[in-house]
Amino acid sequence: MKILVCMKQVPQKDASLKLNETGTWIREDVSYEVNEPDAFALEEALRQREKHKGEVVVITAGPGRAQQVLREALAKGADRAIHLEDNSFVGLDAFNTAKAFAAAIKDEKFDMIFTGLQSDDYGYAQTGVILAELLGWPHATIIMQIEKTDAGIKVKRELEAGYFQYVEMPLPAVLTIQSGINKLRYATLIGIKQAKNKPVRKVALAEVQSAIGENLQKIERLYVPQKTKKTEYIEGPPGEIAKKLVDKLRNELRVL
């Protein structure tokens, strides 16, 4: 099994986000981390390789800082990495990001491509499915289990409200992986050491420029959402807060 895992670097969950001068994106001087769903996708790829042998390749698109995501993946056990390195990749829509990935891997032959089910920044939940369509491959989304079969794979899809479904499909295929499909591993010291010698192929914007076009959608403005609810802040030392909350529960919400 040769598996490609698409990964993304996103602002840390508790990062304080500030708008840039044009109000169309955030100021980039924040701390970043790996998009959590992508970490589950990587873990699943490593587990599939442990079962069926093969290779795990990780790919990301973003500026120099995004290499951290690849380094961590290599330290956890990925075999090699592809870095589409340029600031402008951050602003691509899902359609163009998928096109850039497709162009960067045109000489590779993967059996499966995994993505996380969505990113914590844009939250499109689209790039994996678009990539499948561009490659002409079948896909399945929100996957909780993957088994190899004689004809391809059998995957367990999560549906809404506690429902599931098994789907059989041929390879190659694209799967978007649900968070919680597995338990994430930590990188070992030896893994971190070995990662330094693993290959990272850099792809410049120029190499994939001809594949991508103008974005098909545009963020006109980004802003802090207007509150629709009036929120009452309750302050003070913990004991006092507890008393005030109980007063609200009893006299305003009438649930006590």
């Binding site: 689209q126 499915v129 929120t231």
Partner: protein
């Protein structure tokens, strides 16, 4: 001919997904703002019954996009049939609910047509003749107004709860229903879906709970769940959690609230250490009142909270439990 908005409602196994009414409400609102014509469609194997069901709403026309190959659902068959239909009809705007099923096929459909989807929208704006779709970004910390820069047809999906389904306006008379048969060649469908099933009998029904105490990542360790449980017991509330807590096995999956868990509407939802990611919010924003305790003052949960406590839940929950016990005497 005027521009057309096409709402594609969702059916699963011959039943209309109720969230579709919300998309019809959204379509009616956009039609009112733009003056465009509103039509609807449903795709399936013999979906005529559902087409008739929605034809009672204020719509110019309803299409039943019909093929035996549309049952059971596959992304290949849905994308192929809707591509045929939409290419023939050329609507300006195509709207769908942002369900797991739509997420599974709509990016493929749009890509096959060289178009894009603005996904998971919570509203729209019509400014100086330009349509903007509002969607949440960065897990709800920020919102964005997004426009289409490509040619029509444009695709957009709406988040569950973005519009009120019960506000979908009825028509003066039933809209005409037209059946459109689509041809799907056998090799198009590459995946073989099996029966839909439920993992285990859901032991806990949170949908009927009046009071819910819910925990999120801020609880930090499994042993700390006990703190929340004591508060829930004192209140006589059900204990619930956000997805990461159930993924970690700290609470069973049937206590999960959110898009992949249960959708609840209690009198009180007390959120402990829950940041309020969109996937969680969609499952609990219908609560009559929300109290949120979180140490991060920018946590999106505070956007929808009635009462907010910015602070350490480990300091506040134990005295709160004691006060509740005292109050209950």
């Amino acid at each position: 001919m005027s521009d057309t908005i096409l709402v594609i409602v969702e059916q699963r196994e011959g039943k209309l997904n109720r969230v579709s009414w919300e998309t019809i409400t959204a379509g009616q609102a956009i039609a009112a703002a733009t003056g465009w014509t509103l039509e609807a469609a449903v795709a399936g194997a013999g979906p005529g019954g559902i087409a008739t069901e929605i034809a009672g709403k204020k719509l110019a026309k309803v299409y039943a996009v019909d093929s035996p190959k549309l049952e059971p659902y596959t992304p290949d068959a849905f994308a192929a049939s809707l591509k045929q239909f939409i290419t023939a009809k050329q609507p300006k705007l195509v709207l769908m609910p942002h369900t797991y099923q739509v997420r599974d096929f709509v990016p493929k459909l749009a890509t096959a047509m060289g178009r894009t989807v603005i996904s998971d929208c919570i509203g729209f704006k019509h400014e100086n003749g330009k349509l903007l779709f509002t969607r949440q970004m960065f897990q709800g910390k920020l919102s964005a107004d997004v426009s289409f820069t490509s040619e029509a047809p444009w695709f957009a999906t709406f988040q569950n709860g973005a519009f009120r389904g019960d506000q979908a306006e009825a028509g003066a008379s039933a809209a005409p229903v037209e059946t459109v048969n689509v041809q799907i060649a056998e090799p198009v469908i590459r995946t073989k879906p099996q029966e839909v099933f439920k993992e285990a009998k859901q032991a806990v029904d949170l949908t009927q709970a009046e009071l819910i105490v819910a925990v999120g990542r801020g609880i930090k360790e499994q042993k700390n769940i006990e703190l929340a449980k004591q508060l829930a017991d004192a209140l006589g509330a059900e204990l619930a959690a956000s997805r990461p807590i159930c993924d970690s096995g700290w609470l069973p999956m049937d206590r999960q609230v959110g898009s992949s868990g249960q959708t609840v509407a209690p009198k009180l939802y007390l959120a402990l250490g829950i940041s309020g990611a969109i996937q969680h919010i969609v499952g609990m924003k219908g609560a009559r009142s929300i109290i949120a305790i979180n140490k991060d003052s920018e946590a999106p949960i505070f956007e929808i909270a009635d009462y907010a406590v910015v602070g350490n839940l480990f300091d506040i929950v134990p005295p709160l439990t004691e006060e509740v016990k005292k109050a209950k005497g």
